[in-house]
């Protein structure tokens, strides 16, 4: 006989960020429950259609499908989901969702929509990477997560000489072009 309930470490099965049509913005699966891309897409479709009509904009919402617990929250045209097993403590999953939702909000400086998310996809992917590692929760504080992701400066230990003139020039040109486009 097995002990009364899961004695294992809390675990996250996937983190999904979909748009308002249910299409992928960024997803990360940590479990083998969905071995193929088709299985993953099918799961995303079910999760999306069964939650799309709910109002998950002020408080995180929760639902159960096919023996998975899914917590979710929407903003603009973005749908955030975190999935766990049906034995998982719902509030732990909700904490992970908050970590994801709030750190993305901080990284996109409050401008949270699909376009902004795609233009900063590198930040979103790094953000997921800092929250969960192979299903195990790595960090839950949104400020710490955003801080780790945003530290994109040049390595302070690198000698100045390695920043070539070309690189500096390229950066300057980029800034200039951007200001012209505005």
């Amino acid at each position: 006989m097995s002990p009364p309930y899961s004695e294992a470490c809390p675990s996250v099965k996937n983190i999904l960020l979909l748009d308002s049509d249910g299409k992928r913005v960024a997803v990360k699966y940590f479990s083998d429950d969905w071995p193929t891309n088709a299985a993953k897409e099918a799961f995303e479709r079910v999760v999306f259609t069964k939650t799309q009509k709910t109002n998950a904009r002020t408080e995180a919402e929760i639902a159960m499908f096919e023996n998975y617990i899914v917590v979710y929250k929407f903003v603009q045209d973005l749908h955030f989901f975190v999935t766990g097993g049906d034995d998982e403590n719902e509030l732990i999953l909700a904490t992970v969702l908050t970590a994801f939702f709030d750190s993305v909000g901080a990284l996109l400086r409050g401008n949270v929509d699909k376009r902004e998310a795609l233009e900063n996809l590198d930040l979103i992917l790094l953000c997921i990477d800092e929250i969960v590692d192979g299903g195990i929760i790595l960090e839950t504080d949104p400020n710490v997560i955003a801080g780790k992701v945003a530290s994109n400066s040049i390595d302070s230990n690198a000698p100045l000489s390695e920043q070539t003139l070309t690189q500096a020039f390229a950066t300057a040109r980029e800034h200039f072009t951007r200001s012209l486009l505005k």
């Binding site: 309930y5 929760i62 403590n89 590198d122 590692d133 195990i136 530290s151």
Partner: protein, 836 residues
């Protein structure tokens, strides 16, 4: 990324559809990846290309082996850059590409350098990447650094090493176990998440050492746990320790309960909930222990956060199954949740109320549910229907309002699974509550008037045929049944014809009317419908031919079918049309599952299927030749029945040839005393002629050698003579068999692994059909009752009631009560158990 990755199309004015990855193509991105090889690296550009690659992978695109290898090698060049942002992306893509072990070597030295870097971010990420892609041999090289990292003063580095340790423990346990000292030190860390990761790893390292886990738990309870996640872990480990220490509740307070209870006052909701859930799941929890946990869950029910409400109501729903009285205080909060926006919460609230409600609240509850049903999905409706079914069985006096509710929702829109759940529920209520029968049958009749599901129509027609004739006015059902013959597809029409025949056979005054109807069916366009109509006319004596005796007719129409359908199917397939009619008595009454007579992976693989007939037993040996260089001929099994005295061999059918890897059968038939469950032991030798085969041409040589091969012994046991036949209502069947031939005795089964294991062993020994799901033993039970049913050789019905109890820590005691239609059969069942 400041710049769009793909140039915006000037003609596009549909701003909403804009995406930086619009029109992205794998081939083009792979071309772009050549910038990784530039002597002067442009870090920003490289980051953008990596993002594009990751985007493709994220969208489900895949790289071929060659493409992945090329990208991987190019990416390794990027370690030259000191750009932090680029390095982060490099780590990310290496993990996504999951390089093979011979490729890993290329990045090992770069990653090891990063592991020893002064930059914390490098160290943490290099550890995570390296541990993800490494294998055992490399791990011993970096072990020293990992041990250091575990106690690194930077929490991000320590967590990276600890989490990697948790993953590596699955593949390289012996190495990770050597890190215990460092991990133990990390458990004392002041950084909350380091403590969480260290605790998780330490527990996994020690989980098989109960004493060590118990010590770990005790010491942490006294110390400081800084992170709510670590506190949740501690609660999980504590309940494991409590569970393993067994039931000491009689002797006073449960060890560690106070700790769980104190966690109910923790400042983090996550911890409070974890503790409350742990208490409700304690083995044999008392109502005094439950109360504080229920109180905090009740508070959660009125929280503004849906997640909290869901978690609480889901836990209380589980509690309601075992301790419905414990949560009656929450009923008012539950009722207000019926209107919750979140339909999962509402459904859980309703089903909880249905479990805890009392008889007087049923009507009010049903009114609330009716409003609720219209706006939830089918999957939730099924849950509600099942809860209502059990409520009705609990309060049979309330059947009227519950049956009305079921018939109302049966008329509404819904998919197959939902409708089936309703029909199943009505059928169960009709069977178990006699007063509900007439109204229930009429509801079903109305449903089939407008039912789009063939399966449900035929199921209901069959059920009507059995139950309808026994009602006070069977004639009122005829109209509904005959309507089917006009309005439905062939399957339903055929089924309706059979149902009509049943009414004709069971109710004499209806017979003439049924004949008229059956005669009309003979002109149906479908073969099966016409055949059935003709058959039943003859059976009932409608066309003036010889009328079979009344008993024969009823046996034919209502009797149970005592030949397994799979056996009938096989026999029918093997029947070749000839003058000789198909003989249903030649279908084996029972066939065993194949019994292996050889070890796995031997030269010749043989298993046997035992076919049981009234006077005979036939062994079907399924033989496979696993040697490509051999052809076997004249294969036969020589059976020695000296330990099976009452059996005599009557026939054997050798196998002409047995080529490599194509299974074929040889048969041996024995005669045995008719109608008796004769048992015996048979030893078997496989005899054959071997010819060498040239594997290249597949041609066999002329020379041949006789050879034989010893097989395992084979037993024919009493269980082989029992047919697994279930009954729908065990209690009724048990009562109607009566106690004339009841035999009761008690047995000690000795120490057993668990109650469930003991129950399974007895079920397998008897080879009977478990009824009403009683083969499942709920976890933590101290006693269990299992109901079995079967048909013994000679077509004798047997029912068995097994009561198991734990006697001491492991010893299982069992009371066996048998009822059957024959004294000797009841005794035979006891003999099987006594000798088994």
């Amino acid at each position: 990324m400041a710049q769009p990755l793909v140039k915006k199309d000037d003609d596009r004015d549909d701003e909403a559809e804009y995406s930086p990855f619009l029109g992205i193509e794998k081939g083009a991105v792979l071309q772009e990846a050549r910038v990784f090889n530039d002597p002067q690296l442009d870090a920003r550009r490289c980051s953008q290309v990596i993002t594009k690659l990751l985007y493709l992978l994220n969208q489900g695109d895949t790289f071929t082996k060659i493409e992945a290898t090329e990208v991987f090698f190019a990416v390794t060049k990027l370690f030259q850059s000191r750009d932090l942002g680029l390095r982060r992306m490099v780590y990310l893509i290496i993990k996504e590409l999951s390089p093979s072990s011979d490729e890993v070597i290329i990045v090992t030295s770069s990653l090891m350098k990063d592991m020893n870097s002064k930059t914390d971010m490098y160290r943490a990420n290099a550890i995570r990447v390296l541990c993800r892609i490494t294998d055992g041999t490399l791990l011993t090289q970096i072990e020293r650094y990992l041990k250091q990292a575990i106690v690194d003063k930077n929490p991000v580095v320590a967590s990276a090493a600890l989490v990697s340790g948790i993953h590596l423990l699955q593949t390289n346990p012996e190495i990770v176990k050597r890190w215990s000292n460092e991990v133990q030190e990390a458990v004392q860390s002041r950084a909350p998440l380091v403590q969480f990761h260290a605790l998780a790893l330490l527990h996994q390292i020690r989980q098989n050492d109960r004493l060590a886990v118990s010590k770990l738990v005790t010491s942490l309870m006294r110390g400081t746990v800084r992170s709510p996640l670590a506190q949740c872990l501690l609660i999980r480990y504590t309940s494991q320790v409590i569970w393993e220490s067994g039931n000491n509740t009689q002797s006073g307070d449960r060890p560690f309960y106070d700790f769980l209870e104190s966690c109910l006052r923790h400042k983090s909701e996550m911890v409070i909930f974890e503790a409350a859930r742990a208490i409700t799941e304690l083995n044999g929890v008392t109502s005094r222990e439950l109360t504080p946990a229920i109180t905090v869950l009740q508070l959660f029910l009125s929280s503004s956060k849906p997640v909290l409400r869901f978690a609480a109501v889901r836990t209380l729903n589980k509690v309601a199954m075992k301790h419905p009285m414990a949560i009656t205080n929450c009923n008012i909060d539950m009722e207000s949740l019926i209107s919750d926006q979140n339909r999962s919460i509402a459904t859980l609230a309703i089903t909880t109320l249905l479990k805890t409600g009392n008889e007087s609240s049923v009507d009010r509850l049903m009114k609330q549910i009716t409003n609720f049903m219209s706006d939830i999905a089918d999957e939730f409706k099924i849950v509600v229907v099942e809860a209502i079914r059990s409520l009705c069985l609990k309060f049979p006096l309330k059947y009227r309002s519950l049956m009305n509710f079921l018939s109302n929702i049966l008329r509404e829109e819904g998919g197959f699974d939902y409708k089936k759940a309703i029909v199943d529920s009505i059928v169960i209520l009709i069977r178990d509550i006699p007063d509900a029968k007439e109204s229930g049958l009429l509801h079903l009749c109305e449903f089939i008037e407008d039912c789009e599901f063939t399966y449900l129509s035929t199921q209901i027609l069959h059920f009507l045929g059995v139950e309808g004739p026994k009602t006070s006015d069977p004639s009122k059902y005829i109209r509904y049944i005959y309507n089917r013959v006009h309005l439905e597809n062939a399957t339903v029409r055929a089924s309706a014809v059979s149902t009509l025949a049943k009414f004709g056979a069971a109710v004499d005054e209806l017979k003439p009317r049924i004949f008229v109807l059956l005669r009309r069916c003979v002109f149906d366009s479908d073969d099966e419908v016409r055949d059935r109509a003709t058959l039943y006319q003859n059976t009932l004596g409608g066309d003036g031919s010889v009328v079979e005796t009344d008993k024969d007719v009823k046996d034919f129409l209502f009797g149970s079918f005592d030949v397994p359908l799979v056996n009938l199917e096989t026999s029918l397939k093997n029947y070749e049309p000839s003058e000789e009619p198909f003989d249903i008595n030649a279908v084996p009454r029972e066939s065993s599952a194949p019994v292996e007579l050889t070890e796995a992976e031997t030269e010749y693989a043989v298993n046997v299927v035992k076919h049981i007939f009234d006077k005979h037993v036939v062994f079907q040996y399924n033989c496979t030749n696993t040697i490509p260089e051999q052809l076997l001929e004249d294969v036969i099994v020589i059976v020695d029945a000296s330990e099976a005295e009452e059996f005599s061999e009557v026939f054997s059918k050798p196998l002409r040839s047995l080529p490599y890897d194509s299974p074929r059968q040889t048969f041996v038939a024995f005669e045995k005393p008719e109608g008796l469950a004769t048992v015996g032991k048979f030893s078997n030798i496989l005899k054959f002629i071997v010819k060498e085969v040239d594997p290249s041409t597949g041609e066999a040589e002329e020379d041949s050698v006789e050879d034989e091969y010893q097989l395992e012994d084979l037993d024919v046991v009493a269980a082989d003579y029992i047919l697994k036949v279930g009954v729908s209502n065990f209690r009724n069947a048990w009562e109607s068999l009566g106690d004339d031939f009841e035999r009761v005795d008690e047995y000690g089964l000795g120490p057993r692994e668990s109650l469930a294991e003991a129950v399974n062993a007895v079920i397998n020994l008897l080879g009977m059909q478990p009824c009403e799901g009683t083969e499942v033993v709920p976890p933590n039970s101290r006693s269990h009752t299992c109901l079995l049913s079967g048909v013994y050789i000679g077509n004798i019905k047997v029912l068995v009631r097994l009561s198991f109890g734990l006697d001491g820590p492991k010893d299982v005691a069992m009371k066996l009560a048998v009822r059957s239609e024959d004294e000797s059969v009841s005794d035979a069942i006891h003999e099987i158990v006594g000798s088994g």
